[in-house]
Symmetry: C2
Subunit: 384 residues, 2 copies
Amino acid sequence: MRDVAVIGVGMNHWGELWEKSLRNLWTEAALEAVEHAGVDRVDAMTVGCMSSGLFVGQEHLGAMLADQLGMGPIPGTRVESACASGGLAFRQAYLAVASGVSDIVLATGVEKMTDVDGGAATYALSAAADQEYEGYHGITFPGLYAMMARAHMKAFGTTRRQLACVAAKNHDNGLLNPLAQYQMKVTPEGVMASVPVADPLGVLDCSPITDGAAAVVLVPVELAKKMGRPYIRVAASAQTTDTLALHDREELHSLAGTAKAAAMAYKEAGIGPKDLSFAEVHDCFTIAEIMVTEGLGLFEKGKGGPAAEAGVTALGGKIPINTSGGLKSKGHPVGATGIAQVREVFLQLTGQADKRQVKNPRWGLTQNMGGTGASTLIHIFERA
Amino acid sequence: MRDVAVIGVGMNHWGELWEKSLRNLWTEAALEAVEHAGVDRVDAMTVGCMSSGLFVGQEHLGAMLADQLGMGPIPGTRVESACASGGLAFRQAYLAVASGVSDIVLATGVEKMTDVDGGAATYALSAAADQEYEGYHGITFPGLYAMMARAHMKAFGTTRRQLACVAAKNHDNGLLNPLAQYQMKVTPEGVMASVPVADPLGVLDCSPITDGAAAVVLVPVELAKKMGRPYIRVAASAQTTDTLALHDREELHSLAGTAKAAAMAYKEAGIGPKDLSFAEVHDCFTIAEIMVTEGLGLFEKGKGGPAAEAGVTALGGKIPINTSGGLKSKGHPVGATGIAQVREVFLQLTGQADKRQVKNPRWGLTQNMGGTGASTLIHIFERA
């Protein structure tokens, strides 16, 4: 397997973009990444998208978007792993380059979510849960994560305020990211006072419905060196599954899929959690970020909440989490999220993260998950 | 890259299976393939499915089905390329084994199509076309293929009877396949007299709406030899894209994506079309089989129709096409079709095709396409 580099990134300003179709959104991000990488061709492309069928009535995205880019007959591969679709698209592109099947691969993610009303969006998103055993009973994702939050609070004494601190911190970071959907400050008190969605989670504990796309270009490290462009090295790629339904888990307050993927990724990269300079993780709900930071081994089980409250995960803290603003503030176009995480790591490790730059980072990690953690993609990157 | 073998296959009796869910269907085929292969574990799985979101409101199939098989935390990867989703799932599994990422990979396909009414199924299937530029105007797939048929008739003098002969031949083959959806004889006269769907295509020129799943197990050839089981070798894998919309093509009466993928596959396998003993191809409509056999170089352009009428592609003919019954008679659960094609090649090349056995075959080919040919997957296999 060859060493693989990321050499270019692209992303649009995420939000409720009623004037842009899925095709428009994707093309903006893809062309930006190709131009940014300085390449004049792409040998293959992958696209992560959770449910373009339910959101806009369009499948067959691999062919549509390769065509849209004017790059047919290159292989165009669409992958789906619910909210981890972007991470899976990155992994497939990584494996294509590492194995020598392709040299220059465009990994992308996209979701156009605001063309349907709230009920239809909730129905589409619940397709990431087990429809026959969970959806049938009427539960949706805020409810599932609220149960995980309650279990975490009971087991470890995690507080409502600790959850709120995650949202406040990610909004602080999002204020420094000009492409974030919600560039506004929120306080822990504001989060705690926000409209309840599924107790203990309020609306400000939840990531939003978002239109957006992101794209990155991967090449062998050898080629990146020859091109003389800034790059980062992919040090590890791990993918795991867990039970789809929450009720089948041994514990509601931990993420076994994340813990297993993290162990695989650390081993492959030859580092441990203490070596990480920062991480972009899947904060679809505030409790998710706390559980993920514990699953990654950054904190002991039950210590994720106190760490968030103490500022350990803030920009300038010991281990900054979600410097991009995370799903909470940057937005969560589900198929695009995993790719945008890689973009943030690229900007940080190449010293281009501007006002949200982490000081002299060497190792960055992305963690992207689907549903309540039934699928997990973890990647580790090293500064060149 | 390592040589890769297929060592086990599974498939249910396809049809309108109202008593079985997507999960049930898939599990039957997957367990059969695993048992047939004689393996006690699987390192990863892929699943091709076009639109479980629109058909049954369930995405996240990679995690759901790895869980259903009791094999989590193995990576479960769902891919989508419209009606070529199964072929793409096979290719992803092939690349995983060839590159050394995984040793034993389960490649699967599934579609549960009959839980929605006809209008909703037509809407879901039209998601394989360009919704903004084709679907918006009300055209559906029978209409698109009817235009291709008209163009072919005009350019080459292909006749209505020649189209009908494709359906009659595939039903003859399907009569010999106990798992086929429609095990009934139809005559060319019957096809020509069938209810018009989109002139010149009648209902008996169209593949049906089907529930079904298929699965195959891939391992390195080295391991297959050690296990001492019957196997076939994957000699080539090719994937191409073409314009999504039919109106963007240079010609309506040819399939550039198939021709390009075929050229790549023949080169990789080191053979030409004359070396093939038989092929399983994408006869979603009768005209499609004629255009595909020309695209594969089995016949000159315009000679596919006369060849079908003369029995050249029949069982016992010079180059048997769709010995399984094809999409027309076997059924077309869109995500499963590409995997079932591989199953047929396995049975033929290992001499287990019973009453539809081709005499002493050495090389078999599968061609699976999405939409009107916007994505194409071709694989070539050699007898061990």
